[in-house]
Amino acid sequence: MNKLPEPKQPEKLIDDKGLRIDGRRLDELRPIKLEVGLLDKADGSAYIEQGKNKILVAVYGPREAHPKHIAMPDRAVIRCRYHMAPFSVDERKNPAPSRREMELSKVIRESLEPVVLTDLYPRTTIDLFIEVLQSDGGSRCAGITAASLALADAGIPMKEMVAACAVGKIEGKLALDLSDAEDKYGEADIPVALVPNAGLVTLLQMDGHLTLSEFEQGFTMALEACKTLHAMQREVLKKKYATIKEAAEEREEAEVVA
């Protein structure tokens, strides 16, 4: 039976043992589950669970630009829609796009633009749909991590995948991958996206209060977490396609034995 979350302010965000409300250490990521190629009609798709975040991403494209006037003559246009389901948060969210969703759609698109080889598909669009089915802090970062997988799953040529993670400050201490309560009652939040080979930061936002040295520490922490997530992305992709190989080979062996 689903237990409805209790949206009241927690007494403490960090306990005497230095553990957070969900039992994590300050430098620990939430449990992450990544899946690729789960939708039938989309050209590419991916699903991520990060803590209580549940986010589904679909990619359509490259496809003909509709309406034609949005097309660019020498590259594909990337369109991105970050949208939250009404039931995804504590207080039902109106399904109409909010200003926050519009801003997030923009920064997410800008985090992925640098890696997609858009020059190969002039006059087309590559459409990314990010649906947040359940939100618990850090959804834009989880969305970017999943969106990279969905783009790869669609077979769209890209230099590499982009991984994203946020670091925040709670009760004066820097903490990795804030949950919603930690973000709400904490002192700062820094979402970061990294393109590891190129060494480029393609998403960087911050709100709250940080000294320069706190920012420096937190920023470095986030970059390291991005590298960890990037390795997970690669593993998921390779595993997905390797299993097709293995399943067929197992069948072959079974038939030979029979």
Partner: protein
């Protein structure tokens, strides 16, 4: 300079994965930063001499001049037809690229092809600045009047054809069907019976699902002969 392979050939690689280091030649879906060569897609690493490339496991159809494609008429324009060839661009088949009389005695376009018709065509022209142009002037090209239409990922077509056509020849022979493979992932199948067409269609989907596995040709051959046995048994029972 030393040329070193970092990833294993014939294995799955992901975008951004290091494939090799050194002076290799770059083939499809491989790019270089400094001395390192990276993959630009999810695919199988292939090495041909000192050329490194990645065969994508997924991806839509990107037209090339000379390709044989099977497409569906979606609209009739002033001077030709718009054809859906499952590419990011809609293709155009001009009336001038169909066999038949020219000039005022030419019949109204809608009497040649209708919306919804399937056509086998060749890509006549395509570049970055314009949509693909098709022609049906050529042997075996034109409207397709019958048969099954099978749509698979264009990335799997090379596997469906096989080395020197080995896979497709086997399929045609074992299923006793006529099969025309469009480079755009659309395959036309004609069989002597609905049963044999069904087996051929099933075999084509199996190739798509298991394209990058060993022993595929044998497994498909077995699947087809098993279906034939079932058919025969069913046939004798009703006889």
């Amino acid at each position: 300079m030393d040329m070193v392979l970092v990833a294993e050939p014939k294995q799955v690689v992901a975008p951004g994965e290091v494939l090799a280091e050194g002076d290799h030649l770059l083939g499809d879906n491989a790019y270089r930063i400094g001395t390192k060569i990276f993959s630009a897609c999810v695919g199988i690493l292939e090495v041909d001499g000192n050329r490194v490339f990645v065969v994508p496991l997924k991806g839509g159809y990107f037209p090339r001049v000379g390709d044989l494609v099977a497409g569906r008429i979606v609209d009739i324009g002033l001077s030709g037809w718009l054809v859906d060839i499952r590419a990011p661009y809609e293709a155009m088949l001009p009336a001038s690229e169909t066999p038949g009389p020219r000039g005022p005695r030419r019949r109204d376009l809608s009497t040649s092809y209708e919306v919804g018709d399937m056509v086998l065509a060749e890509v006549l022209a395509f570049d970055r600045t314009r949509d693909p142009l098709l022609t049906v002037k050529g042997p075996g090209l034109g409207k397709v009047a019958s048969g099954r239409v099978v749509e698979i990922s264009a990335a799997k077509i090379p596997r469906l054809i096989g080395r020197k056509g080995s896979m497709i020849s086997m399929l045609k022979k074992e299923t006793d069907c006529q099969i025309t493979v469009g480079q755009n992932g659309v395959v036309m199948v004609w069989g002597k019976s609905p049963e044999s067409e069904r087996v051929a269609v099933e075999a084509i989907y199996m190739v798509e699902r298991e394209a990058h596995t060993r022993g595929l040709t044998d497994r498909i051959r077995e699947m087809i002969s098993r279906s034939r046995v079932v058919e025969q048994v069913a046939g004798t029972q009703t006889a």
